[in-house]
């Protein structure tokens, strides 16, 4: 079918070249030709549209032809939220939303972590237990018996998980064993290591549990930004984003390059600001059950996730490394011929995955207020894959955005939270997640079939 599209383009080129003989002349990359269906379907509407109306039209055409971007994820999220809210009106209460943010923190981070191997067409099955080990080391290092400085403990945990994943990456690259197998061994082996750490009792934990007695780590999930700090942070973020987007567009325009219409940029900023304002209005509300205390503000885990998202986005979309991640995932042979070291990219991707798993472990320990040898690493790794895939990250590499993984991880958390709230146990939670996952990949498959059939 690709050739069909080709003929369309070719038709134009031949017309243009008809007067000029062999050499195709004419306005190179001329903007006066109407966007062809193929171009519209596959490129970002930002750079094709001339106005907001144009943008909307192109966007709808894309959705109809299957390239719907984040739309199904967002619609799915809205549908799930509405359902839970109807079933249990306390779902959207301030205290449950704060609760949800805490649960979402580690699940979103796991989905982000898994996105790195997935973008290469690889997978890290050992992520869940790796996270458990990192958290154990950190919590152990700040336990009463071992008063290491908090930052040393955090750094040690994250460095360890990063190193473990990097070693897995090295094995995958140098022994040329599929990542599925290497990290499956990692899953089993690290589960064993986790149990073994706790078996060295006396020094570690009590009955397989280490309590977290560290205010800094506890406060990531349980502590809140003051309401004023929340507002200031929102204003700063929106203004920075606005300045960045608008100056970038202006620079592009100054160089005569296609740039999104100002109205589209403003609309994006407005959406961002609105979400922030709603979240702040809800979470800045005093949600304490007792009249004697106040409990208000955005939990610290929210800015932590946003910072991770910003860093990962910059890494993947604005650096050479990120470009090479997509190149290797899209066509490894092409990347190799372009002089990219596949081994380096693969090992780095696994190392980053491990670091993010370590951060996830930290958020997990902060959520629980403890860590144990009972971490369900097998379950969490599946959630990490589910989150990334729900968010549009392809299992075959080269496709997907980190913001999608954040959304997907958030959906997993919403289900996790909502199913418990409406009184269904683990059974409901698994089945719900399964249905959403299937729906997400089905939509994706239909979309892809749709776009390859145009």
């Amino acid at each position: 079918m690709a050739t069909d599209r080709g003929e369309e383009h070719g038709g134009q080129s031949q017309d243009a070249g008809a007067q000029g003989g062999v050499t195709v002349t004419g306005d190179p990359l001329g903007g006066d030709t109407p966007p062809t269906e193929a171009a519209v379907v596959s490129s970002a509407p930002d750079l094709l549209a001339d106005s907001l109306a144009d943008y909307t039209r192109i966007w709808f055409r894309r959705v109809r032809s299957g390239e719907s971007g984040a739309l199904p994820v967002v619609l799915g999220l809205v549908a799930i939220v509405v359902y839970f809210q109807i079933s249990q009106p306390s779902f959207l209460s301030a205290s449950n939303i704060a609760n949800l943010m805490g649960q979402a923190g580690f699940l979103i981070t796991l989905a982000m972590a898994q996105t790195f191997p997935l973008l290469l067409g690889e997978i890290d099955l050992s992520l869940g237990f790796n996270m458990g080990i990192g958290a154990t080391i950190t919590v152990w290092m700040v336990s009463i018996a071992h008063p290491f400085p908090t930052w040393v403990a955090i750094l040690a945990g994250v460095a360890l998980t990063g190193a473990i994943s990097a070693v897995e990456g090295l094995v995958i690259v140098f022994l040329r064993i599929p990542s599925f197998v290497v990290t499956l061994a990692g899953l089993l082996g690290l589960n064993g290591v986790l149990l073994w750490i706790y078996e060295q009792t006396g020094s570690v934990g009590n009955g397989g549990v280490i309590q977290l007695h560290n205010n800094f780590i506890n406060d990531i999930v349980s502590g809140n930004m003051s309401p004023v700090a929340g507002w200031i942070a929102l204003v700063v973020v929106v203004v920075l984003a606005g300045v960045f987007m608008i100056t970038r567009d202006q620079r592009r325009r100054a160089h005569n390059l296609a740039s999104p219409p100002l109205s589209v940029t403003l609309l994006k900023l407005a959406v961002m600001a609105t979400i922030g304002v709603v979240l702040l209005l809800v979470l800045n509300h005093n949600r304490a059950a007792s009249l004697l205390v106040t409990l208000e503000g955005v939990p610290w885990v929210v800015p932590v996730i946003l910072v991770l998202l910003a860093i990962a986005s910059i890494l993947l979309t604005r650096t050479k490394f990120g470009r090479y991640m997509y190149a290797v995932g899209g066509n490894a042979e092409a990347a190799r011929r372009a002089g990219i070291s596949l081994s380096r990219i693969r090992v780095l991707a696994f190392a980053i995955c491990g670091v993010l798993a370590g951060v996830s472990g930290l958020l997990y320990a902060s959520l629980l207020g403890s860590i144990s040898n009972n971490v369900d690493g097998g379950q969490y790794v599946l959630y990490s894959v589910a989150g990334a895939v729900i968010g549009g990250v392809s299992l075959f590499g080269g496709r997907g955005r980190i913001v999608g993984a954040v959304l997907g991880g958030f959906i997993v958390a919403v289900i996790y939270n909502g199913v418990i709230l409406i009184g269904l146990g683990a059974a409901g939670q698994y089945i719900w997640t399964a249905v959403v996952l299937l729906a997400a990949v089905t939509l994706d498959a239909i979309a892809r079939r749709g776009s390859s059939a145009t």
Partner: protein, 301 residues
């Protein structure tokens, strides 16, 4: 070198019915300066299989050299020997008259040889600019400098008169075959290739897409690049090539200015290794090329 050039040019020029002046002009155009790449006695065997034997071919800058031949004639093997993928089992490569050894694809790239393979090796998920700049990104403070890369890519496409893409920010996966070929060529050109090798660039393309690629090839040569195009589509060969080389069963059946050939003679060379459409003495000279004609070459050198 002049001698080698002369003898190579002379054979087909002698060998055809075209006015002698044409052949002389083509040869004269090269006179005095060495061709960009010269193959001298290149052979390649895979175990017992002799895929190439004693190939002598000059590839001048600013011209399109077409390499024709039936399936299995050794066209792909020959370009792989030039591109550093295979090591020739014998013979010599001269780059600007200097003997060179091309051991790896990287060696070839460093010399200025870019090969556009049939599979093109593009990342469908990346856009046109990203593909063209892949491996050569410009970076400011660790952050990709998208604007300068996009301007560079845009300029290169403009220079090559590629005008059919709506946005250079669309993924390559959404492009037609001809446009993909154009992107692959532009990528090669941007990396300062002096010799661009293209393997079957128009196979699997529709009529109008072929047109696009052929005009691109012409533009490349006009801009001073040496172009070696592998093709067994004779219409295309005659449209763009100023020089033609025909392989037959791993040997060079004929080579020389395109004016020295017509479709029928090329078909004859491709299918039988000789052409009856030539005068008697030329026919023997050419068929001699299979056996003892090589001596003529060494003598010529």
């Amino acid at each position: 070198m002049v001698m080698a050039e002369g003898s190579e040019g002379a054979r087909p020029a002698d060998a055809d019915r075209a006015p002698a002046g044409t052949g002389q002009r083509a040869a004269g155009g090269l006179g005095g300066s060495a061709p960009l790449l010269a193959l001298r006695g290149i052979g390649k065997s895979f175990g017992p299989v002799q895929a190439l034997a004693d190939i002598n071919l000059d590839i001048p800058a600013g011209q399109v050299t077409a390499l024709a031949g039936d399936n299995g004639a050794g066209k792909s093997t020959l370009i792989k020997c030039i591109a550093g993928i295979y090591q020739p089992s014998g013979g010599q490569l001269l780059w600007n008259g200097q003997p060179v050894h091309i051991h790896t694809p990287k060696d070839a790239t460093q010399l200025g040889i870019a090969t556009v393979y049939q599979d093109l090796a593009l990342c469908d998920n990346l856009d046109i600019v990203q593909n063209m700049m892949l491996g050569h990104e410009s970076v400011k403070y660790g952050i990709l400098d998208e604007i300068s890369m996009e301007l560079l890519a845009k300029q290169t496409l403009r220079d090559l008169a590629v005008s059919t893409v709506r946005s250079i920010r669309q993924p390559v996966g959404s492009l037609s075959g001809g446009q993909r070929q154009a992107v692959a060529v532009a990528k090669a050109v941007m990396q300062e290739a002096r010799l661009v090798i293209m393997d079957e660039p128009t196979a699997a393309l529709g009529v109008s897409q072929t047109e696009l690629v052929l005009s691109l090839i012409t533009t490349l040569a006009e801009r001073g690049h040496a172009v070696l195009v592998v093709s067994h589509n004779l219409t295309d060969v005659f449209r763009v090539a100023s020089r033609i080389a025909v392989l037959y069963l791993g040997r060079l059946a004929a080579s020389g200015p395109a004016t020295g050939f017509d479709t029928q003679s090329v078909v004859d060379f491709m299918t039988t290794g000789t052409s009856s459409r030539l005068g008697e003495h030329r026919k023997s000279a050419l068929s001699g090329g299979f056996t003892s004609g090589t001596e003529g070459w060494t003598d010529g050198n």
